[in-house]
């Protein structure tokens, strides 16, 4: 099977050894593409550099960093540099043949720059603001990923895409993983996070059909909204199933593949 795994930034302060050993174990039977997040890491470095980060909210609840030019430079430095290379080192230490890439390399992720954003302002009213350097992935260089996979490498992708004007753009890592999984027609997409899965009434929902997701979207809060949208997009693009689960456990990926914990979202 071909599996795309997104490792959330919330579990990446230190690279969890459980994830590294599980990746090695899963690789003995399957092909893997890894995508990482790391928004908190970007905020920490930006703060050390004296660049406080601003966050904005969309009318439907998406939260995003307001990415001006300076923030985009820090974002690229931390995502494609510090976090990506820290993970590459941790995986190579366990002899995993990983290749760290940003979406800029080999035009891996092309994105449309969001020139304007709709946000909810301090008065609670909708307002249009300049979009800064965020974008929406619209093309994945699947042949570059296949080239690596066919030669036994594990691509590890950071969520920095290239715009129509060849500028780096901040793109959401969950949606990036969904786009990659869709472009590769992956069998599964696993979104590892710091909670057990989708929660309703304080309980994890073990299974969910994508058609039921729409009706429950309004009750889903915070970062889960982007994961649910990512799941919908991946399934629409031919991915077999999506699992949202905790990355803070012993064998997070193997367990997700066996449906032990987490929320499995499928088309049926």
């Amino acid at each position: 099977m071909l599996i795309v795994v997104k490792v959330g930034g919330s579990i990446l302060k230190e690279v969890p050894p459980e994830i590294v050993s599980d990746i090695k174990s899963v690789l003995s039977e399957h092909q893997l593409v890894l995508v990482h997040g790391g928004g908190k890491g970007v905020t920490e470095v930006a703060s050390k550099l004296g660049k406080e980060q601003k966050f904005v909210f969309s009318p439907t609840g998406f939260r995003s960093r307001y990415t001006d030019k300076e923030t985009m430079e820090i974002f690229t430095m931390v995502m494609a540099g510090k976090i990506n290379k820290k993970l590459v080192s941790a995986l190579q230490k366990q002899e995993i043949p990983v290749v760290g890439l940003s979406g800029l390399d080999g035009y891996l992720l092309r994105a449309e720059r969001k020139k304007r954003l709709i946000v909810v302002n301090e008065q609670g009213r909708k307002q249009v603001i300049d979009g800064g350097y965020t974008g929406k992935v619209n093309q994945v260089n699947a042949s570059l990923l296949k080239l690596l996979l066919d030669n036994g490498y594990v691509p590890l992708v950071s969520p920095v895409a290239v715009s129509e004007e060849f500028e780096p753009l901040n793109v959401d890592a969950d949606r990036t993983a969904a786009n990659i999984a869709g472009a590769l027609k992956a069998d599964k997409l696993v979104l590892l996070t710091d909670v057990e899965g989708l929660m309703f009434n304080d309980k994890v929902v073990p299974e969910l059909c994508v058609d039921d997701v729409e009706s429950k979207l309004k009750k889903i809060g915070g970062g889960m909204i982007t994961k649910v949208y990512a799941a919908k997009e991946a399934l629409k693009n031919g991915v077999g199933e999506v699992v949202i689960c905790s990355g803070v456990r012993k064998t997070p990926i193997s367990s997700a593949l066996k449906h032990e914990g987490g929320t499995v979202i499928s088309s049926e």
Binding site: V42, M79, V128, T134, G135, V171
Partner: protein, 58 residues
């Protein structure tokens, strides 16, 4: 409240006094989403919102 008119159906729209340039209002008559493009004194100009859905970064 200030007043403005929908550029599409000409219906009168109530605009909050502290409205800011870029804010989005809905026309109560035709439902069109409108962006405040000018806000000087009592003069508020609106145009149809030309922006697609949302998809943001990390």
């Amino acid at each position: 409240m200030k007043k403005a008119n929908c550029p599409d159906c000409d219906a009168e729209i109530e605009v909050p006094d502290d409205v800011m340039k870029g804010e989005i209002l809905s026309c109560p008559s035709c439902g069109l989403e409108l962006e405040v493009t000018e806000n000087k004194g009592d003069c508020v100009e609106l145009k149809e919102l030309g922006i697609e859905g949302e998809d943001w970064g990390e």
